[in-house]
């Protein structure tokens, strides 16, 4: 038993070190964002919000932020509205070629983004269309669809057909059944799908670099452009804002969906 104890301590220590390794750079970005010094590096020489203030006056970044929000929201709505029905088809029905089609729709996860970027751009070029916001949008839908399918399918497995059948047999019409039973049960899955596609779209760099024009740059593409010059404290400040934003969204969503589930779900 003694040797097990020390082995277990080593495992705990190892895990702790992996955590430290994983989070040190992220924490460093947040800390350095408050460093008033010009070069955005160690050592810390005080504490100031001046880079955040400067950031809030940077109109190109604010524009990029707006682009990212619009693009992410539209991507989330579009991807979820085509992805949820597909997930329903895979979970609820038996049909020929189901396995194959499921793999076909999810496999794009494995296709490198560079290849997706080149492929869609080439296609648009062949159609003699210019790069545009629509290209970015459809690109992001293709990019996020497999993830939405995976997430939504995983959530749908838990929803039993019997609830709907019970409603129908108790006299509800199909529309009432959908409104009162199916939709509330589906809502957390839809919500998760939207959240996921929004985050992936908001975060994407590689493919977006292929598709974005100077007019519709997103925040990550903008950061990429700023990095060309060198890392500035402003990038750290922007990074800190992004970290707080993107971390609080899923945490809040998790909390909301638990409340959701308690309110309407089967327990």
């Amino acid at each position: 038993m003694k040797s097990f104890f020390s082995g277990w301590t080593l495992i705990k220590l190892y895990t702790l070190m992996v955590y430290v390794w994983m989070f040190t750079p992220i924490v460093a970005v947040v800390i350095l964002a408050f460093n008033p010094q010009q070069f955005g590096s160690f050592p810390m020489e005080g504490f100031s919000f001046k880079w955040f203030v400067k950031l809030s006056h940077n109109s190109t970044i604010l524009d990029a932020f707006q682009n990212s929000m619009v693009l992410g929201t539209l991507t989330a709505v579009l991807t979820t509205s085509i992805g949820v029905p597909a997930a329903l088809a895979f979970i609820r029905y038996e049909f020929k070629g189901k396995e194959f089609l499921n793999t076909l729709l999810i496999a794009p996860i494995m296709i490198p983004e560079v290849v997706l970027g080149v492929a869609l751009l080439l296609f648009i070029r062949w159609l003699q269309q210019p790069k545009s916001f629509v290209l970015l949008l459809i690109g992001h839908v293709v990019l996020t669809l497999p993830y939405v399918l995976l997430i939504v399918q995983a959530r749908l497995v838990g929803i039993k057909r019997e609830y709907e059948e019970a409603a129908l047999s108790l006299g509800a019409n199909p529309f009432q059944t959908f409104r009162e039973v199916t939709f509330p049960l589906l809502a957390p899955a839809i919500f998760a799908g939207m959240l996921f596609s929004f985050t992936i779209s908001f975060d994407d760099v590689t493919a977006t670099l292929f598709w974005a024009t100077a007019q519709n740059q997103t925040v990550p593409v903008k950061i990429f452009g700023m990095l060309r010059n060198s890392i500035s404290p402003e990038i750290n400040a922007l990074g800190a804002v992004m970290i707080v934003l993107t971390v609080s969204i899923p945490l809040a969503a998790g909390w909301l969906s638990r409340r959701f589930a308690r309110g309407v779900g089967p327990s």
Binding site: I11, Y14, P25, F42, A89, I111, F123, F202, F224, I243
Partner: protein
């Protein structure tokens, strides 16, 4: 209630149309384009010739980048495994009340912007980054040692990005193992280590191999870490594609390189699927 046969197809049709039109067709275009010619004027001429592929393999430059990509991918897989197995095992074994929160913490980087996570290493490895700052302050070195813009820095960025995938894959596999199996082995006289080596480890291998494949494939297509953390010699295949297509507008050659990368990944994934089954990966991804 009798199901109508057309109903699933109706539900599937928007997704299938989108994937067919915006993914399958464009990828076919890449393959077709890779046989085209590029006129000196910069125009693309429809043709069927293997010149672009011959150009790729003409000297050591391009295959060198391909080999570089494969080497970095293998190194990343090995390090991910080394760093990822123990935490996954910890999650499997621990009975701490904090377990859900600790696992949430591992998932957290998924939600943090990829470009921020990548560039955050500049603050650690740069000349005035954390490591050099601490080393110089402690007097061990007098001038900063170059840690950034080399293969090691690229791999750091890649690990940061891919480690959660590896941990998750291994954990999903471990989580499906009945803990009483290892207990039984111990009650029959195995030591803790033997029980792990003979029972738990072999049973967790599906997750290990799924994690390795995922990390390998994702590394092969990576663009950002070599771009931000690497030096001139650390280009990977995706960087090459970007340079040829966006930089020099050489669409036929860029398409040929894309096709080579895609073919390589298809062979790897196909072989894996033959022997191991690809669904393991999807299973753990949907837990994220």
């Amino acid at each position: 209630m009798k199901e109508k046969a057309w109903k699933p197809w109706l539900l599937l049709s928007p997704s299938l149309t989108a994937v067919f039109l915006l993914l399958v067709v464009p990828v076919c275009f890449v393959v077709v384009y890779s046989f085209w010619l590029r006129a000196p004027s910069g125009q693309d001429i429809p043709a069927f010739q293997l010149g672009n592929y011959a150009k790729f393999f003409a000297d050591f430059f391009y295959p060198g980048i391909l080999l570089n990509t494969l080497r970095v991918a293998l190194e990343t897989v090995a390090l991910c495994l080394l760093m990822g197995y123990v935490p996954a095992y910890f999650f499997y074994k621990t009975e701490s009340r904090l377990k859900p929160y600790l696992m949430l913490l591992v998932m957290l980087p998924f939600w943090i912007s990829f470009i921020i996570r990548t560039l955050s290493w500049i603050n650690i490895l740069g000349d005035s980054g954390l490591i050099n700052h601490l080393l110089m302050k402690s007097g061990l070195i007098t001038s900063p040692i170059p840690l950034l813009y080399n293969e090691g820095a690229v791999i750091m960025g890649l690990l940061q990005y891919l480690l959660p995938f590896m941990i998750l894959n291994i954990y999903v596999s471990l989580d499906g193992i009945d803990k009483s199996l290892a207990e039984a082995a111990k009650s029959l006289g195995c030591t803790e280590w033997q029980a792990f080596k003979e029972v738990t480890l072999p049973l967790s291998l599906p997750g290990v191999s799924a994690g390795c494949l995922l990390v390998f494939v994702l590394t092969c297509g990576t663009y950002l870490p070599p771009m931000i953390l690497g030096g001139p010699g650390n280009d990977m295949i995706a960087n090459l594609i970007f340079k040829r297509v966006i930089g020099t507008l050489d669409w036929p050659f860029g398409s040929a390189i894309s096709a080579i990368l895609l073919l390589l990944l298809v062979i790897i994934v196909y072989t894996y699927n033959r022997y191991m089954g690809i669904n393991q990966i999807f299973k753990s991804l949907s837990n994220g």
